[in-house]
């Protein structure tokens, strides 16, 4: 094989490798990207049912309800402008409290109730979810 041919083969192999990598990343991004929205954005964007995404907001005061003896809970997530009702079955994180900033992952059901599969609170009790900070400050 001439050196020229060798180099050509080398370039070809690299190109194939890079293309495969980009294809891999793009397809797995497609399936695994989660949008992160505020409650207002979630309502205006009118997210499809079953489409999974994340909402960051504050748990509205006096909105938390739990059916006695079960893991099902309901609460309202707000950014001071819009509110979304969230249903969650499972254990809530330690830092979950009314008035606290949290992030939920899940999707809307057909009545625009957000069915959360995951509830995250932050390590830091003074933490605010991104974007909520700006909304909250004027009122406090």
């Amino acid at each position: 094989m001439l050196p020229r041919h060798k180099r050509f083969l080398g370039i070809l192999a690299t190109l194939i490798g890079v293309t495969a990598a980009i294809y891999l990343i793009l397809t797995s991004f497609q399936d695994n990207l989660l949008y992160y929205l505020t409650p207002s954005e979630a309502i205006t964007k009118n997210m499809d049912e079953e489409r999974s995404f994340r909402i960051g907001g504050l748990v509205e005061i006096d909105s938390f309800k739990r059916s006695e003896g079960s893991l099902k809970s309901r609460f309202v997530l707000t950014d001071g402008i819009e509110s979304i009702e969230v249903n969650y079955t499972g254990i809530l994180p330690d830092l979950f409290r009314e008035g606290q900033g949290i992030i939920v992952t899940g999707s809307f059901d057909n009545q625009k109730i957000f069915i959360a599969s995951e509830v995250l609170a932050k390590h830091d009790e003074n933490y605010m979810p991104p974007k909520i900070n700006a909304v909250k400050e004027p009122s406090s």
Partner: protein
């Protein structure tokens, strides 16, 4: 008085870092003997000043001096004394002070490296570069995060340490991880110094032990963090692909690649450019990690309240150091002479594996920073979840694990005759052992079988020199670092595969005298009670674990409320042995006499942490024990 004294020593450290940089850089222009001693002295003086500085800050914590803002925000009088010391690096300012202290300590040790004294130019310029890095961070601390800032009027009581950080593992986790991050500055400075001075592959010989040493710290730091997250965060997971975790994993991939690439550069004089680039990028990713953790730009469960100005400063430092290093590289790096590589020689296989490791780092990097870039361009806020990482990491890792075993059996500079013949018994053994796992735990998927077979393949090929030399420790001492490293990796992969494939997680509501079953295990809630800790109040559950009616153990998971803050903390109850972990975390009182409980059964989970310990042992042998033997061998 003490904070002012600390300030004075801080400025002294800053001045000596400046002198260390300026003095060292003159070595490029004047005779080196004139400057050598001066640079050594500035290095020692900088370390001394920073040690005193750190000591004074610790004293302020021990004396509960709340007139110091940093002490007031991270400690209070009720904190046990051990955690008062740990609180010194519990916040942003103190942890950065620790960062520069560790950097200057590494620098001091490098200046004492006797082998390096044979290349005075390389050595002095490397010390100068380390001085410049230190200078950059000292200025950063002085302007944005001074730990000695006073607060007037001073509060009577401090805010206390974040309860999550009040844990023994968290006391040693940050220093260990930092030692690993910062240690990568040593190969970085040697590589750049080599480009500026002698411009040959000599630096690789000197950088090897330092790279292994910082790789050990990095390995230990990551493993400790994972262990802490498992038992302390109360979720029972061991890896979350959280950006902050990724920030430590990326330099680890590259440090591992660098470690192996340096072997080739040192022994065969090949891949000098590649090793240089790896050294530069590994340290750049350490800086990126520091930026990600400290800037608050992330949607991360690890996000602590932080300040964007600080992030910008670190970003400037990052751009400066990696940018200028890459420019120097592009100007100075000589074109490698074309050398014919046999495709199955050890050189080629090591190169291939390093490419896979770089690809792993790249895939993790994309998933970590893509959301940040999108947000900066105002294209919306997204997050990339664990499914992405779990999926894409397989593509570089499966071929990587396959070729690790082949590389062990290869020779330098030539192909191997009868490779297949030699490897086939091991391949067969790995598959047989691999099949054993689904036959114990049950069939799940082909991926599980591939994962465990590759784990056994890595372990068996790792042990092979030992078997070949009839179990003589003396004869195999030279292979010991590789053997332990690969066995550790294999054990970890085995643990990861089995835990992810066969682990069971259940959230359940439990009331007194009621049982829940997880797999073969029964968990029975017998009591809910209260107890007082030193600075917290705990509510505990007592849970009896049994298997097939046979009593095993009672565990007491807790829910704690610390005096200094209103936040609750989960202390999990864990019953563990080598083969399985049983994990219980108390949720909350959900009314009707019931409590929510998080229950887990995780087989072979411990291997995920024992594996890295074995890997570190390999590094330890390489750095300390076998130095004499290695010299004899060569």
């Amino acid at each position: 008085m003490i904070p002012e004294l600390g300030q004075v020593f801080f400025i002294a450290a800053l001045a000596s870092a400046l002198l260390q940089f300026l003095g060292g850089i003159t070595a490029l222009f004047i005779r080196i003997e004139k400057i050598e001693q001066f640079v050594e002295r500035t290095t020692a003086f900088q370390t001394l000043s920073l040690t005193i500085c750190f000591g004074l800050l610790t004293t302020a914590f021990l004396q509960d001096d709340f007139s110091v803002l940093y002490v007031a925000s991270n400690s209070n009088t009720a904190l046990p004394i051990g955690y008062k010391i740990a609180a010194v690096w519990g916040g942003h300012e103190g942890s950065l002070l620790l960062w520069v202290l560790i950097l200057s300590t590494w620098t001091l040790f490098l200046s004492k490296d006797t082998a390096l004294k044979s290349s005075p130019e390389l050595r002095i310029v490397a010390l100068s570069i380390l001085g410049l890095i230190s200078l950059g961070f000292l200025i950063f601390i002085l302007y944005t995060s001074n730990p000695f800032d006073r607060v007037l009027p001073s509060p009577l009581q401090g805010r206390g340490l974040n309860p999550l950080l009040q844990d023994p593992a968290l006391v040693i986790h940050p220093p260990t991880l930092y030692a690993g991050y910062v240690g990568l500055a040593v190969p970085f400075s040697l590589a750049v110094s080599s480009l500026l001075t002698v411009n040959n592959h000599q630096w690789a010989k000197h950088a090897r032990s330092w790279t292994v040493l910082s790789w050990m710290f990095l390995t230990g730091g990551i493993a400790l963090g994972s262990w802490w997250a498992y038992y302390e965060l109360g979720w029972g997971g061991w890896w979350f692909w959280d950006p902050v975790e990724n920030a430590s994993l990326m330099p680890w991939f590259l440090a591992t690649a660098l470690m192996h690439s340096l072997i080739v550069t040192d022994k065969r004089g090949l891949f000098n450019g590649f090793s240089t680039l790896l050294a530069i990028t590994a340290f750049s990713l350490s800086l990126l990690g520091t930026f990600l953790v400290r800037s608050g730009v992330l949607i991360s469960v690890h996000s602590f309240a932080s300040d964007p100005q600080r992030g910008l400063f670190i970003l400037v430092l990052l751009a400066f150091f990696s940018g200028s290093a890459l420019i120097i590289y592009s100007i100075k790096q000589k074109k490698n002479e074309q050398e014919k590589l046999h495709p199955l020689s050890r050189e080629s296989l090591l190169l291939l594996n390093n490419v896979f490791l770089c690809a792993s780092a790249g895939l993790v990097l994309i998933g970590t920073v893509y959301p940040l870039i999108l947000e900066m361009l105002d294209l919306g806020k997204i997050s990339v979840g664990p499914p992405y990482f779990n999926f894409v990491i397989l593509f570089p890792f499966i071929p990587l694990l396959i070729s690790i075993g082949v590389a062990v059996f290869s020779n330098w500079n030539q192909g191997q005759k009868n490779t297949m013949k030699k490897l086939s018994p091991i391949i067969l053994g790995a598959i047989l052992l691999g099949v054993m796992i689904p036959s114990i735990y049950g069939w799940t998927s082909l991926l599980t079988l591939v994962g465990v077979s590759l784990a056994f393949w890595t372990i068996l090929t790792g042990i092979s020199p030992f078997i070949k030399n009839k179990f003589s420790i003396n004869k195999t001492l030279i292979y010991m670092p590789m053997m332990l490293g690969h066995i550790g990796l294999g054990l970890m992969i085995l643990g990861i595969t089995v835990t992810s494939s066969y682990g069971i997680t259940i959230d359940d509501s439990m009331s007194i005298e009621q049982s829940s079953s997880v797999g073969d295990y029964e968990f029975k809630l017998t009591e809910i009670g209260r107890r007082n800790g030193p600075n917290y109040l705990a509510q505990y559950a007592s849970i009896e674990i049994s298997k097939d009616g046979e009593y095993i153990e009672t565990v007491y998971p807790e829910k704690r409320v610390y005096d200094s803050s209103s936040m609750g903390m989960t202390e999990a109850g864990i019953e563990a042995n080598l083969f399985r972990d049983l994990f219980i975390a108390v949720g909350e009182d959900i009314g009707g006499g019931s409590w929510s409980m998080h229950l887990q059964y995780k087989p072979l989970l411990r291997l995920i942490w024992y594996g890295p310990i074995v890997m570190m042992l390999g590094g330890f042998v390489r750095v300390f024990l076998s130095k004499k033997n290695l010299e004899n061998y060569q």
